[in-house]
Symmetry: C2
Subunit: 382 residues, 2 copies
């Protein structure tokens, strides 16, 4: 199967590319290095330098023998999209090509405008490219659990059956997100759902929770192959950030009361979920939605886990509650369902002490590279 990964340079795009080639897929990646550019503009950087896509492809070919085709360009430009699809007609597309940071999207008008335009125009271009070049291809789209927000009822997998005044209707589960970034993902869903109905596309929307970790079966022995590991407030996901903060002796910054609960997953499980979705494609005319996470934690629980494992490793980990820069519920009901991917065969890699130990031990090796001033930039929602 030929798989095109949009956003193949990203935290998840690159590990996905390696994983799929190792499982026998023919893979091409496209990326504009947008995340690298935004990191430079905002003066933040991953824990260690990451080679560019062509260098990583070369390194991966050297160790694995598998090749990955690379397209560097802006998927918001139709000419580039046409070139990619004409050159590598895919059986499936994995769409990660979005500005992925909630805090970035809340910085200012320019960052909001970039997020809105990039994310929606890339998705629209993808839709028209599939229509033109490969109408039967399976689109695997990364959504986010953040689209749902924190409703007071159970979060079902994508759809909600509503009984109202004696009549019945199945709706897309109503979405209400907590950042502009997350709102653009809702709008992606609006777009894809519309064209699924009009043009009978087959789409899997993976509503993913925050991902943690950096080790996969493909990169464990080779630091050149690791993904971006950001620990800054803008591009770092919360657990990765806490691990770095623990190592460098910076108190774990918990926003507000810390009872904000989300569904998390290990980066290894992201790769499995993508592969399982590809192996079991959505039907023609189907928007299939999975909630992609393996366990839920509050921010308090996460910080205590990191503190406990860190202290056992001889660190002195403190936790500090700071004024919440976001506008979000700090106490809320949260009961999201996630049976779809398990039924396809997902066996979770849970957040054990061993997993945290491995992460902390790795970051300790890179401790000298940590620059504290990027950890907390005080980006405010309101």
């Amino acid at each position: 199967m030929r798989v095109l990964i949009l956003g193949g340079d990203g935290y998840l795009g690159w590990p996905t590319a390696m994983h799929l080639t190792s499982k026998g897929y023919k893979v091409a990646v496209a990326d504009s290095y947008l995340r690298r550019r935004l990191c430079k503009e905002e003066d933040v950087a991953p824990l260690f330098e990451v080679p560019d896509l062509r260098e990583r492809v070369f390194a991966w070919k050297y160790v694995s023998g598998y090749n990955i085709k690379v397209f560097i360009g802006d998927l918001a430009e139709w000419e580039f999209v046409e070139t990619v699809f004409r050159t590598f007609i895919p059986d499936a597309i994995v769409h990660y090509a979005e500005q992925p940071s909630a805090p970035y999207s809340m910085l200012n008008r320019r960052s909001a405008n970039l997020t809105l335009k990039n994310n929606l125009v890339v998705t629209l271009n993808l839709i028209f490219a599939v229509r033109k070049f490969c109408p039967d291809a399976h689109i695997v789209k990364l959504g986010t659990m953040g689209e749902y927000g924190t409703p007071n009822i159970d979060i079902e997998e994508g759809w909600l059956d509503v009984d109202h005044k004696g009549r019945h209707q199945k709706f897309l589960y109503p979405r209400q997100a907590g950042s502009l970034y997350h709102t653009t993902k809702i709008m992606d869903t609006d777009l894809l759902w519309f064209y699924v109905r009009m043009w009978n596309f087959r789409v899997t929307d993976l509503m993913q929770g925050p991902v943690y970790g950096l080790f996969t079966n493909e990169n464990e022995d080779n630091e050149q192959l690791l993904p971006f590991f950001n620990y800054d407030e803008i591009f770092g996901t919360v657990l990765n950030r806490f691990v770095v903060q623990a190592v460098v002796g910076y108190p774990l910054t918990v926003y507000g009361k810390g009872n904000q609960t989300r569904g998390y997953l290990n980066i290894k499980d992201t790769l499995t979920c993508i592969r399982l979705s590809l192996e079991n494609p959505a039907k023609i005319g189907e928007l299939r939605i999975f909630n992609q996470f393996t366990e839920t934690f509050s921010v308090n629980e996460l910080s205590k886990k990191v503190q406990s494992v860190g202290n056992n490793l001889g660190l002195n980990v403190n936790i500090q509650h700071i004024e919440n820069p976001r506008k979000e519920a700090e106490e809320h009901y949260y009961n999201p369902k996630h049976t779809g991917l398990s039924e396809l065969g997902l066996r979770a890699n849970l957040l054990t002490d061993e997993v945290l130990e491995q992460m902390i031990t790795f970051v300790l090796k890179h401790k000298s590279k940590i620059t504290i001033d990027q950890i907390h930039r005080k980006i405010k929602w309101a």
Copy 2:
């Protein structure tokens, strides 16, 4: 009260500008003539020529004594938006500045891309301009009943109370539209609702049905002041189109079975609804939603009304069912609520035979200008 009308050259924008000045409001209008440009590109034109905005403002001042400030420019460009808001700081904004045609949005990739970018970037710019220049201003946004689609349960006014497994949540009423244009209006709602929650804006979202007619209290005696009256498949709304078809002896083209039912309103009532919303603003932090229509008709009912009145006026009106170029339900439940605007004081101008007679008689005067080849362009949804 100072009211800024975005899209002030449009079918509804211009009549709104006149109406509000006549009621004592200070009014400015902004427009890029986008609709005029798209009509030229697609080779369609209104029934009669409409003077440009500055000429209309001059004509209106001549007959009424009221002035309207004009800004010509692209509201998708931030610099222009800043100039407008800095020059005329409004107490309220009426936002019509969108590519308004569903068939246009379904023409091709370019038209879809233009619709998506224009509609969303203008709305985002509006949001940031209000935040910067007038955070307490009341935003009156034109939504559309088409956002709801045709669900199998009653359509409430904007919100839906859901009981699910013993718990309760109030959601934005789930939306599922029938064209890309309508989908961009859903996305507008997503955007506005997000920033209402974040920044405590006051927003009224008017979910409007198709509007018909051209006469208002302000223009009845002066053809120079009439709005665009398109009868083509792209920019003509259905009843206006049927009236022209009846006059010129072109069969009324009913798509498919013709049982598609929608909520309609007279252009006079649109103006009243806008004014009532301005007089009774949304609260701080409130997204207030009204369903803006006065009566529902199926396409079959509309065509029969036009046929009956037309034949009484001596025309020979035929009705022709053609293959539905859209992908939509032709038989469906439809029970939308619309009490909010009535409670504010709306007294409907219903679609009487007299109203249709007045429209047909007017179009008869302009019969020689009708060009038949623009009536039906065969734009297909799928």
